[in-house]
Structure formats: structure tokens, C-alpha cells
Amino acid sequence: MPSGRQGGRPAMNLEEQQELDRQVQKYALETGEDFEIYDYGETYDNLADDLEETRDDLNDETFGGIQGDEGTDFDFARNTRQIAPALKKEEELYIKQNDAGPRRSSFASLWENDGSSQQDSFKMGLPEPSQAASSIWGSFGNTAGKGMDMGGAGFVHDPVFGVGTFLRPSTFGNGHQSLEEVEAQLLRTARGQPQRVSMQQHHQGDRKMMSLEEVEAALMNINGGRPIYSEAMLAEQQAKIALLEKRRAAREAKQAETAKHNGLMTQGDKDFINRIQISQLVTDDPYADDFYCQVYTAIRNRHLQQMGIPGSMMEPESNDGNRRRGGNGRTEQRMQQQVQRIVSDAKRNPKRTNVTVEGALGKIAVNSVLNPRQLLQVSKRGTNDSSGGNSPKPPSPGPVSTKSHTVLGWIENVYTYVLALEQKRRQQPPPPRMGEEEIAGEAIRRWNEEYGILAQKMWNELRITVPIGIVHPHPFISILNYSKGKKVIPRVLRHLLPEQTLTLLTMLVANFESLNVCKSEVYADVQGNQEIELFMNTIVPPLLGFVSEAPFRIVVGLLALFIERNNMIWVARSKPGLAFLTLFLSRAEILKQGQGNYPIPDDREINQWNELYNRLFSQLQTHFSALFMPKATMAEDVHVWRFLAAMAVGATVEQQHVLVTEVREQVLENVIAAQTTRMAPEKAAQKISNVNLFLHALGLDASQVSVPAM
């Protein structure tokens, strides 16, 4: 049907048309959804006729043209049929009550009168058509309230205009109960055993509303004329039932009151409103407009998958085209097609923010979620002012606050560019296909250029290249001193060139002391420790990845700069500082042994390194034991052991001796602590393995340590 829904219609003969309608209605029943709601072409006025409508090549798939795989999950009709007599009865009751009203006595009559193919085919679609169906739909006014009350199942769509929508279909079968059944159930649960007799009575079809007295009498009969309840319990039951009754009455009254508005809107009106509502929510760029939803969904799906539950159907559409199953999948696919159509419609008619109709007194504002009504008009500087850059700077309230505001502003600018870059990445043009290299090549070139400009802007905004010494602390360090500045770094690094990353690392190493995380955890408050933790989690891992691929020359240079520009004793007592030292030492050791993809460094480089190492060692000598946290803090000290191990590997015999002498206390302490029975086994094992980190580097083991008698 390439000519579209409207255009294709006359071409079909009547039989085909009916068949299609029948399929459509059947599908609607199965899925429990009324997609006629979303199908604008069908009931909308003919204005849309001249619009070109494609995208219906999937109609068969969408509307269930290919049958055979549906299960019985959504076979509500059967469930409904089972209680059809009850519904019928209730309907009659209701009709009797409302006979005087101006309302049509039953919707069933409507169905009979209306000869449109839609309604007819709907009935055809039902396994056992006329009676059950008309009774279901006809009794809407009476049963829906109750249904929702009891089981949560009910119709939400006005039945006059088509197929009702079932809510919570799974509960429908047993959830939809008549009042008698409810009463009986209440009594039954109160008694704690099933009342078969009375239930059967109810099921035998002779249904009338039992008054309370009758219920009571029935119960008395069953129990041999002896009341089974104490007065209090009975009163309680009565109150419950009365309350239920009252609610029902209230609901019915309300329904009757609003009934006069029934049929006020045509299906076309409803479609129109639906379209407006959906088009407000639709976006063709979910990552930019629905960011939190996207991220939340991703996180939640990951979480679910970890727990062994397959990803939910809310997954972003990209990668799971074939993982969808069953009715939900099809419903969702259909929704997506609708959404896509709306999006492309919106693209065709670009949004205008306001419309001026000729001769009208005012403007009509077209507002949407993304374009809310603007109340304040703040003119942007630079747009009015052609001189742009010369516009006066806002007065600075004082050096300190300007400082923090300025830095915060830088960080926000960095975020702006990072977000723009991430957005660009998502819009990366696909690799060229055969025969289209020319066009695709152009697109790729343009994309590269734009991406490069953005990346450069971000790089400038980081202010890494500001010479050291102009401002203290260095601007880049100021950025890192905010937690959001730390958090952005991993996202920044993804867009940097390798030499830019190296510059960043160099700057960081050169100004390490002025970092706010460069202090011992002992001196940091709770917030300070959170910052340290954040630094270790955000900045260290990506840079670790970078260093672990760096050649020897670079590692030597970085360590030299590190030692040169910072007080090693102070830096080494901070967790991040120690982490970086360990990183450089271990990387150098790996390269010295010729592992990695680099050649073994030559003698000159080795000499350089040894010199550097000796300098570091002599600076830290007599301070090794001070690297450990005071015992009272109970802090983790694995990173200290790791550092000592890295030191020990490169040390000469004398240096190793010095090391062992200095941290002898700590080694003994840990081994003794692990051997006393008071400690949990896993914790003891942890302590031993920490010590072993260091001892193995020396060629020793914790088991060789003789514990002096206490």
C-alpha cells in the first residue's frame, strides 16, 4: 500500500476491507489497547488527504496481519464470557433503575443501530459474538466502577466509541466480581474456610442483590442456625459492607451526573487531543531532551541484568530490535511508529513560537514542553550590542567571590562543551556505503571539523595551558578543587588528543601540592575524605590507563617533575599522591624489565632513573612509617603497602634494608593482629596479604616473620 492509508482505501474491495478491519479489531482485543486512539488518519477530517503518508509498509506487522503466534495472554473475551450472565443481570438492574433518564437505556442498542463496519467487525472478532459482547459493553455504566474497585480491572475508554481498554488485564478474570461474590468472599475470609455451598448458590446464576439480612440468614443456615460471629465481628463486617455499598453508590451517582456529557466529543476530537498531547512529549533527540530518562533507563537495565532479569521494554530502541517478545513488543513497536510519524510531521512543519493571524488583535502563542511561555525578556548581551566584547564587565564584588564564581563559570563552560561533544559523537555520520563515498566523505569531513572546533574550545576552557605562576593556584587545579570539576575529567579525557592528555597530566603533576585532595586523610574532614575518594575514583583511573602505556622517557620526565615541584613528604602522605608515585614507580619497573611494547631503556635512561629514585628515597627516608595512618583511624592502608612494594622492587640492598627497618613495626603489628583470634578470618587474611605485597617484593613472606613472644 505505498499510496498510504487514505489513498489506498478505495483500491481495496469490500471483503479485504472487512478482513482488515476484523484483524485490526481482533488485535485490539488481544493487546487490550485501542490503537484507534492514535490512528489519526482514520477518523480525522479529510484535510490530511493530500499529505503524503508513507511508512505503512509495516502495517501488516503492526496490526497483526501475520497471525498464528499469539498466545492466550490477552484473551479477555473468554474471561469476560465466563461472567457474562452476571454482567447481563446487572445491566438489566441498572436499566430498570435508570429507566426514566434521558439516557439511552443501554449501549447495546447503540451497537445494534450502528451499522458501520468498525462496530460490525468488532463483533465478528469476538469468539462468541453478540450476546456476550453486547452485555459486556452495555453494562459498562454499572460494572466499571465495581470492577475498578475490586480487582483493579476496568474499562477506561468510552465504550460508545469503540473498544474498551482493559487495565491490568491479568487480574481481570478473577478480579471482576459482582457484589454478591465480594460479600461472600468477605465472609469467607473472615471465617477462614471456604463456603462452598453459598458460593455455588451464587454461581448457579440466580443472582440478585442480597441484602445484609439475607446474607446473614444464609450464613445462619449453613451453620445450623447458630450465629457464627460475635456481635462485634458482625458489626465490623456490616460496617465494611456498608462502606463498600456507600462507595459504590457515590460512584454511581457521580457517573450518572457526568453521563449527560457522554458523547459530547467525537472520536475525531479525541484523536486530535491525543495527538496534541503526544506531540508535546515526542522528541527526535531523546538524549538531549530526555536525558535523565535515558540515563535512568540505562542504569536500571544494567541493574536488572545484573540480577539476572532481562532488560525491560523501556530500553532505548537502538540495540534490541529482535529481543522484544509478545504483545508488549508489538504494542511498543506500534507506538514507536506513531511517534516517528509525529516526529517527521513536526520536522516537516517547523515549529513557530507564535502565530499572528491577519486582522487579529493579538498573537497566538504556540507553547510546548520544550518551548514554555516566556514571561521574562532578558536581552542577551552581545545580540543587541554590536561591539560585543567591549561590553562592560559586571562589577566584581571582591577578590574571593569573584574567584570562586569565575572558576565555577569555567567548570560550567567545560560541561557545556563536553555535553556538546557527547551530542556530536552520537550524531557521528555512518561510514560511507558503496557508491556514496563522495557525499558521505563530505559529511564526515564536516563532522570532524565541527568536532575538532568543539574539542579545542573545551580544551581552552580547561585553562591547562595557562603558564604556571600567573595565578595561584593554577586555574586547572582550581577547577579540580571542585567536586564537579573532578567529575568532568573522565568525560573530558575521552575527547582529548594524546598530547593534550599528556599536557594535562604534566600540569597536574607539576601543581600536585596545591590540590585540595593532596593531604593526609588524617587532616581531612568528612567532606575532604569524600573529595579524596572522588579524586581516586574519577581522575586516577583514566590517567593510570594513560601512564600504563607511556614510554620510559615520559615516565622519567613526569616523576622528575613530580619530585622537583612538590614536597614529597607531604605528597606521599596523601592517598592520591601515593597513588601517583606508585603508578610511576611500577610503570618504570615494568619498562626496565622490558615488558610492554617498548624496547628496554638504554643505560643513560636507566642512570637517569636511578638518580631520580635515589632522590625520592632519600627524601622519604625516615618518613616511611609515617605514611601509615594512625592506628586509631582504622583506615585502609593497602595503598601504602602497594607503594612500599613498588619502592622495594627498585631498591638497592641497602635501601631495602632501610625500608625493612623503618616499617618493621607495621609488619609485625599486622602479622600479630592477624594471628590473634579476635579478628574475623577474612580481615586477617586481608592484613596478611597486604603485608605480603611488600614482603614479596623483597623476596620474603609473612609466614617467615617470627612473632616475638608476647
Binding site: 514554555p372 564587565k393 564564581h405 569565575t406 565555577l408 563559570g409 560550567e412 579545542q456 595551558t465 564537579k484
Partner: protein
């Protein structure tokens, strides 16, 4: 070498730009109904709807003594892990006072 951006410019053009600077920072929010909030700003929008984390809410309640007609001022505090603030109640947003 690359040209770094000027050290001063922070691109503040409209009032909400100032609020943006406080993203991920602790802020102080004054609300209608004698309520104050102190918490970390996670998100905001043009209506000043906000999502705050790790919030301390301070409510000032004035009780009037029935007999003496004396006003007794009470301060109620509570903490929330995460809070959505509807923008129509916001009077003031500021960085916390450095006390």
C-alpha cells in the same frame, strides 16, 4: 601552544546563569511558608523547580498560646536524602553563608 580562554570570562548573562554555577554545590533556598532548605543542587529549571540532595529543611512555626496570646516560635528540622522543590514556592536561592 594553544590559546587558553581568558581568565576572567565566566559567561554570566542572565540570573539563572548564577544558579547554574551552584550545580553540584550546596545551596541555601528560602521558601514560602517559613521554610528553608540547605542541600546540594542536583538540577533546576527555568521555573526554579529544583532537585536537591542531602537536604536539611528548617521550618519555623509560630504557635499562639490560647490563653496568653503569646507567640511561641518553634523550629522544626528534618532531613531528606532527595527532595523535589516546586519552583513556585522559592523566594531565594543562594550559596550557603560561610559560617
Amino acid at each position: 601552544m594553544d590559546e587558553h580562554a581568558p581568565l576572567e570570562s565566566a559567561g554570566i548573562e542572565e540570573p539563572l546563569d548564577l544558579v547554574r554555577l551552584s550545580l553540584d554545590e550546596r545551596i541555601y533556598v528560602k521558601l514560602r511558608g517559613d521554610r528553608e532548605l540547605r542541600g546540594k543542587l542536583h538540577a533546576y529549571d527555568g521555573h526554579l523547580n529544583m532537585v536537591l540532595g542531602d537536604v536539611e529543611e528548617t521550618i519555623t512555626v509560630v504557635d499562639v498560646d490560647e490563653d496568653t496570646l503569646k507567640e511561641v516560635i518553634r523550629i522544626v528540622k528534618r532531613n531528606c536524602e532527595m527532595l523535589f522543590v516546586r519552583g513556585d514556592g522559592v523566594i531565594l536561592v543562594s550559596p550557603p553563608s560561610r559560617a
